[in-house]
Homo-oligomer: 342 residues x 2
DNA sequence: GTTAGCACTCTAACAAAATGAGTGCTAACA
DNA sequence: TGTTAGCACTCATTTTGTTAGAGTGCTAAC
């Protein structure tokens, strides 16, 4: 175990490196922070820390930089929970207000805020199947051969699509059909509406084949859309602010990864179970981001996973700040969702 | 006027520079392209072209690069209309098919394709007010105190929002109200639905204040939403492939501009009138992109501007390819939209 | 256990020199 | 009159050499 002084020195080195991105030497520590010990003593301690695997030297005559192990220790034991400045909070509030029309906007804003506040790439995964329950369907006439099929769910969402009306079908008949279908599906969660259920329904109302086929497609598509996990990215531009990414090639390779929505989704889904998850360097399973760190927070509503947000950046990341911001956003989202439910 | 040989040499220089991004010297031209004349002769011609303002030298002992004037001349007189390879066309088709669920997806795909094919940033502006006409509104009951207000337009779009129902109002009453409002607004283009019209309506059905206020907000929002011009960006990553943007700072500054949706919108709207518009270097009015070129094509349907697409990149741009791709996309979109209408 | 002193290491910054691609000019040639 | 070979000249880029500075490790003294 590390003694208190070693811990303190390690912490200072890590934090100094996080903020400057320069290897930090014994003199720097002694000068910047008043520890009451000389550079030589610090050197000795640093030497020990290196032996223990917490520090690394890019080359003999440079200062030292924290190893992945050091960051791990830092986030596990050293980090102190911070709090946002009033300024930051005001900024967040204004960003959320800027554009808020539907749920997607909220997620998009979250991604944006997360990246702006942390100067890193952010990812937000929205699980849309947050338990929307089927209420009823309704046909709205459009013209002689088309109608709009509206599917109403209890969260107040309406999805709609244009369907073709079988020749000669009267509005009353369509209402009747809608009623029958509605009665069967009412109260089911959209994700529950399975193929079997639909085919059973098919048997039941088989007399109107054409219309029913349209309906089938619509409900399936809607169910898929509702179930769909959507990914929102933010701050790919912030990447360029990090000295680690001064080299265009590195930027390109990371952006290449982020471009693949599937990869990002997998990445996020993999870390969904735990509340707060920090993976550092090679702890990341995905090749290509093994020189990066990722902080991920999953948020739930009534026990269900609503979504997950993450910040991806160089291992030299402001973990404390990231966590603090995420925590705030988490709370913010919670109240927003609860408000929506009401 | 330039004689044929000068034109030819200028063309070769421009095309060589476009593909290599390196200043091109007289030897290069003589070696690469068999013109039957010696480097010395080419040098003389180049010297003339420089005097005429078509070529520039970064420094005395470098080759020459085309000036903005040269590019202007190139796109006006020298460029030969190309055609896409089968491979390219197949690629485009597959990209369009990849994800096509609604009109936004089509625009997004267009932006993506445009950037992929040209290795530059692409921008697509979608004018959504393509003449949607109000049909009727309908209230769908949700629970005892809420209903969903659906606004149906003749293009088969339904917009909806949740409204609060005044205490004790019965469904029949709501239907009656919906009918009255519908009759007044029917046949109007959404963009026509002005404040005056709405206030007149207000007088008319003033008995149900609360509900009507909700409705007012909804229709206004919808009208705004329909009128809204949406911007789709593509290929901010391709930027990094251009040697001009090897410097991170330049990337940052351009991305900064593109990030401002308003700026991009203004930029695109400004060039909307003409069919195909190419602005080179300082011809661009917007500061910050004056070392870039922009190729913009506006597409119409039945005389109305549906949208506009543009490619933004270094002046050293494959103008021919860009134009060819845009032309193809233009046709592709046209058939797609006409199909949709049918 | 702590610290001052010192030799040693290695990078980054700077300067000087070599390299080479390309030009402009002149004189000769067809 | 247009074209070309030859050659001196220019200037960015690359290479090489040098220096300054930050930092270390070790030792001996406190």
């Amino acid at each position: 175990m590390l003694n208190d002084r070693k811990k303190r020195i390690l912490q200072l080195i890590i934090e100094d490196y996080i903020s400057t991105a320069e290897p930090v030497g014994s003199r720097t520590i002694a000068r910047k922070y008043d520890l009451g010990i000389s550079p030589a003593t610090i050197r000795n301690e640093m030497s020990d820390l290196e032996l223990l695997g917490y520090l690394e030297q890019p080359h003999t005559s440079a200062g030292r930089i924290p190893s992945a192990q050091a960051y791990r220790f830092y986030v596990d034991s050293l980090i102190e929970p911070g709090s946002l400045t009033d300024n930051d909070m005001a900024l967040i509030n204004s960003w959320y207000k800027e554009r808020r029309r539907n749920i997607d906007d909220i997620f998009q804003s979250t991604a944006k805020i997360l990246s702006r506040m942390t100067q890193n790439v952010s990812m937000v995964l929205a699980n849309k199947d947050a338990g929307a329950v089927f209420r009823y369907i309704k046909f709205l006439p459009l013209d002689s051969s088309h109608a709009i099929l509206c599917i109403v769910t209890d969260d107040g969402n309406v999805d709609n699509c244009v369907v073709e009306i079988p020749l000669g079908m009267r509005p009353e008949e369509m209402d009747y059909l809608a009623g029958r279908i509605s009665r069967v599906l009412e109260g089911k969660e959209l994700s529950e509406i399975s193929d079997e259920l639909l085919s059973a329904l098919h048997m039941d109302v088989a007399e109107d084949k054409v219309l029913f086929t349209s309906f089938l497609q619509a409900i399936k598509r809607m169910s898929r859309k509702q179930n769909e996990q959507r990914v929102f990215l933010g701050g790919t531009k912030q990447l360029l602010n990090q000295p680690e990414f001064r080299d265009v090639e590195r930027v390109k390779s990371l952006l290449g990864i982020l471009e693949e929505e599937k990869v990002v989704r997998d990445l996020l889904v993999a870390g969904e179970d735990s509340g707060l998850k920090i993976t550092i360097g090679t702890e990341n399973k995905f090749t290509g981001i093994q020189d990066c760190s990722m902080v991920q927070a999953t948020y739930r509503l009534n026990g269900k996973i609503v979504g997950t947000m993450a910040v991806l950046g160089p291992t030299r990341m402001e973990y404390g700040k990231v966590i603090t911001v995420m925590d705030y956003l988490h709370k913010y989202l919670k109240t927003m969702f609860e408000q929506d439910k009401e």
